[in-house]
């Protein structure tokens, strides 16, 4: 067995928070995204760092990639730098011959053992499918409450936290008090970087966007290194930046029931450009009028190098498949431009596109809610405006 077993003697070099009041530091699940750390996890890590006191540890936990520990991992050192830029004082690499694929209960069990060894006061994860699932398991196995989709949190004394979390996918905010010996928090996708977040957020945001550059441009370790360097340059202002995190390897004690649920297959999809990551999304709603009306939107999306997204009414009518749905119960998008055509802007829909950088609406109703969310609007029938726009773009191109 390589690395350190969990237990009182196996806490490694990290325990900076020893002896501090209610307990030690903060643990954050750092999910992989290909050869990098997921941007959502870097944001969660920044959130975690904002919860920790100056002498407390912030431990980023990284699980093995699909395929398991047998594969070489040239990125681990790069990870350490990137994670440090977002506030990690410690990096914990989980190693286990049994963890050859995503296994939510086993991940939660590993983190549970780590919290015991570290006497942690909080566990934080991004509110992704994996983060939400792992923390739900951690809550169930410890009997502790989980606060999902937090946008801010602060300690309010021993085992007590004041927090703000999202309801209705962010359309309503809940002020809440969490009382728990170990705070279990998932962080809303847009929590860090909003004005409501704490002061350190802007510095951390710099790192996130610098790292993000590496993630977006990243294929393999080389660009990852570039990303880390640019993060270095960008983040000297962060209190914890520049300090080398202590990196340790731990091996969790897992039993058979922990491994019953695991991803057995993870084949890449060949469905072209992803709605979630598209730079331009052309949206169509009820105003499109029927299943035949989408060809013009597809053509416009092609011209703009983007994809088509739709509102919930379009998929519940069966006009388009659900995978094209933007919204609370569909896909959350964050394009440079969201061009919403014939979409009224119900909160169920807006919850999926509030991260769009620019929203342009085309709608017959000047009082539709979408007009209050959009930056620019054309009042008119999309079935007239969109073909005219396509013609104008083609005319300019020729």
């Amino acid at each position: 067995m390589t690395g350190t077993d969990f237990g009182p003697d196996g806490t490694g070099a990290g325990g900076a928070a020893a002896g501090l009041g209610a307990g030690g530091g903060v643990i954050c699940l750092a999910e992989r995204d290909g050869a990098a750390i997921a941007e959502a996890s870097l944001r969660a890590l920044a959130f975690a760092a904002s919860l920790a006191g100056p002498a407390q540890s912030v431990t980023a936990v990284v699980f093995p990639p699909a395929g398991g520990v047998g594969e070489p991992e040239p990125d681990d050192e790069v990870f350490a730098d990137v994670l440090a830029e977002c506030g990690a004082t410690d990096v914990c690499l989980v190693r286990s011959a049994e963890l050859t694929a995503y296994a939510p209960v086993a991940w939660a069990r590993s983190i549970e053992q780590l919290t015991a060894a570290d006497r942690a006061s909080a566990v934080v994860a991004a509110a992704t499918d994996h983060g939400s699932e792992v923390l739900a398991h951690l809550g169930a196995m410890t009997g502790l409450p989980v606060a999902a989709n937090c946008v801010s949190a602060q300690s309010a004394g021993p085992s007590s936290w004041r927090l703000v979390r999202q309801r209705w996918a962010g359309s309503v905010l809940e002020d809440a008090v969490l009382e728990a010996s170990l705070a279990l928090l998932t962080v809303a996708a847009d929590a860090v970087g909003q004005p409501a977040a704490d002061g350190a957020a802007s510095a951390v945001n710099g790192a996130v966007s610098a790292v993000n550059g590496a993630v977006l441009g990243g294929n393999g370790a080389a660009s990852g290194v570039n990303g880390a360097e640019s993060a270095d340059r960008g983040l000297l202002s962060s209190a914890r930046a520049g300090r080398r995190p202590s990196v340790r390897t731990v091996t969790p004690v897992l039993s058979e029931p922990d491994l019953v649920v695991r991803a057995t297959e993870s084949a890449e999809q060949s469905s072209g450009m992803s709605l979630a990551t598209a730079r331009v999304v052309v949206g169509g709603g009820r105003g499109v009028g029927g299943p035949d009306g989408f060809s013009a939107l597809e053509e416009l999306a092609d011209l703009l190098g983007g994809v088509v997204g739709v509102s919930r009414v379009v998929t519940s009518q069966g006009w388009r498949p659900h995978r094209q749905q933007v919204g609370q119960t569909g896909t959350k998008i964050s394009p440079e431009l969201y061009m919403a055509c014939g979409i009224s802007g119900a909160i169920q829909h807006m919850a999926g596109c509030l991260s769009a950088r620019h929203i342009v609406a085309v709608n017959t109703d000047a009082d539709a809610p979408i007009i209050a969310h959009a930056e620019f609007a054309v009042i008119g029938d999309l079935n007239e405006v969109v073909p005219a726009l396509i013609a104008a773009i083609r005319a300019r191109a020729s």
Partner: protein, 263 residues
């Protein structure tokens, strides 16, 4: 197979959510109520499973007496039996909710439900954990966020998309599965279905409320930017202005892009 589906009554919200004057709830005076979207799909999935394989669908909710309306809506879609865990209007945390569901499942009959379905998360509170907590209490595996579900004998195969790849999970029944909208397209209730649901008897149980470690202090609507879109014009006449905006955002094809000096 006997399937238990857990659903939640939530306000039907449109373009705006309002909070009551005391800041404790979403204002529902102007809204109707519905079943949280993922859960309606869970009911549809359960009905399809029993249409294929036989068995029954029991739909359960925890809420005010008025939530019987949502149970009847789901029975109109094909659920056979409705169970209301009646509450007094206090909000229940995920842990207490899961415990009450587990207790009720034990009380409802001699045969345990081999499959328990729920939504991935409720539309309103969005806690993402009731299904997982039910599974742990029963010592069952739990799949979450499932968009495709296949049953072959005692084996359950569920898949979902994550970061552009398909994740597939295979577990043996009994199990708990939370699903997401998109797993199917819920049917419209038939007239006979509506009539049957209207007459159906609903089992009412009254579980004991328990405090949760996460305590709501109040709700508020986030301060939006009070801006309104800049209106570029009306109809096709607005296209030149729209083209300028798209050009400014740098999203036009390179052959079309122009600098500030171009027309």
């Amino acid at each position: 197979m006997d399937v238990l589906v857990c659903v939640k009554r939530v306000p039907m919200v449109g373009g705006k959510v309002l909070v009551t004057a005391d800041g404790q709830d979403v204002d529902t005076r102007m809204s109707g109520f519905t079943v949280s979207p993922h859960e309606e799909c869970a009911v549809e999935e359960a009905v399809q499973i029993t249409e294929r394989e036989g068995g029954s669908v029991t739909v359960l909710t925890l809420g005010l007496p008025e939530a019987a309306e949502q149970l009847r809506d789901m029975m109109a879609l094909g659920a056979h039996r409705g169970v209301l865990l009646e509450t007094d209007g206090r909000e229940w945390g995920p842990d207490a909710t899961a415990a009450a569901i587990v207790d009720a499942a034990g009380e409802l009959g001699p045969s345990p439900f081999p499959l328990i379905l729920a939504g991935n998360e409720a539309a309103d509170t969005g806690g993402y954990q009731v299904g997982v907590r039910i599974a742990h209490a029963l010592g069952r595996p739990c799949l979450t966020g499932i968009k495709r579900l296949e049953i072959a004998g005692a084996t359950l195969r569920g898949s979902r998309e994550y970061r552009g790849a398909q994740e597939v999970f295979e577990v043996a029944l009994p199990a708990v599965v939370t699903v997401k909208e998109g797993i199917n397209l819920p049917r419209y209730p038939s007239l006979p279905g509506r009539l049957r649901a209207k007459r159906a008897e609903i089992t009412v149980l009254r579980p004991q409320w328990k405090a949760d470690g996460l305590r709501k202090e109040g709700l508020r609507v986030p301060a939006g930017s009070a801006r309104r879109a800049q209106i570029l014009g009306h109809g096709a006449a607005a296209v030149p202005a729209l083209l300028d905006v798209l050009n400014g955002l740098g999203v036009l094809p390179s052959a079309v892009r122009s600098g500030g000096d171009a027309a």
